[in-house]
């Protein structure tokens, strides 16, 4: 299963980004082997409007079923729910730690 985290940069050592729709990167990792991860630039970050639903589309296309982030807006929340992606809010710190903690929980 794939897990996504918002991220301030393109590596596992970056921080979990506060915003979902407008974060710089998503880190998509396989929960069975988190060393197998893919950083993707968030093209929704520069959208004039609707960054939230757009970002949900992006991580859905990458097969994410779980999202780690600080906060999800109401539009994004609706879209994530429709895609069947579980949003875990209130996450901060290093992306690597956040994903590991969630996976090993």
């Amino acid at each position: 299963m794939n897990i996504a985290s918002t991220s301030t940069g393109g590596s596992m050592s970056a921080q979990v980004a506060q915003s979902f729709g407008r974060c710089a990167y998503f880190i998509i990792a396989d929960t069975d082997n988190i060393k197998d991860f893919e950083p993707i630039q968030n093209s929704a970050a520069s959208a004039a409007g609707g960054a939230g639903p757009q970002a949900a589309k992006i991580i859905n296309e990458k097969g994410a079923k779980i999202l780690l982030t600080s906060k999800v807006g109401p539009n994004a929340e609706g879209a994530l729910k429709e895609y069947g992606i579980k949003a875990v809010e209130g996450i901060s710190g290093k992306v690597k730690d956040a994903i590991e903690e969630y996976v090993n929980k």
């Binding site: 959208a47 409007g49 609707g50 939230g52 639903p53 539009n75 609706g78 879209a79 429709e82």
Partner: protein, 278 residues
Amino acid sequence: MKKIAVASGKGGTGKSTVSLLFALILSEDYRVKLIDCDVEEPNCHLFLEGPVKKQEPVKIFSPGFDLNKCTRCKKCEEVCEFNALVVTEKKILHFPELCHNCKGCLIVCPVGAVSDSYRVSGIVYDKSIDKKLSLRYAEQNIGEAKASPLIEAIKKDIQKDVQIVIYDSPPGAGCSMVETVNNADYVILIAEPTPFGLSDLKVTVEVLKKINVRTGLVINSSQKDNSILTDYASNIGLDILLNIPYSKEFAREYSRGIIVPDIFPGLKESVKELIKRL
């Protein structure tokens, strides 16, 4: 027909005051229509009394989706510039507060699954004030996220015999202001001689430059020393049209809902002279 918009970056600088003053003064000589484009917070009607002649709902496009016809091809989602649609296996999510009512989804759907449906975004009122002056204003429905569609509607269908149209703009330099000044022949900017006034004026001037419309400045609550505004105006070649001083007497009447142009000596003459140049 001369169309004049009254705008300012900052709120509370006197847009409505100036719009009302101009409307009252100019309607002595011309047939004037004042349009209060601040549909989220209209106030001109509080100062002008008269019977409501017309009252009409404004409908804006809001797509509906027939999920049985829909093949989930996602063409609507792709065409939507505003990310207002999310197509999933189960359903189609439409976010009305992101939607710009452009009908792109309706046009692009290959199987006719998008319906041409509408919702009421507000009510437009036409009030007749006296023989030569009429007022149009609107009340936007609660929960509507964007004012532009209603502003666009409120500016349409002006009676042919109107000689001067005054658009009273909402505050700010965003979509609502741009929609208001769109197709105006002249934009009167209002600012007070304060640092905040200057800062917001600059932003508005920058936006208007892109629209390429003739502009001039009215200094409201003008002081002995207005150099904070006049220096800027002369630097960028912005015409200063009028100075309206602060008047306690005017403010007192205003707070009771009465506009008295005569409180300012010489204002009537200046405005009548000015309109010939705009």
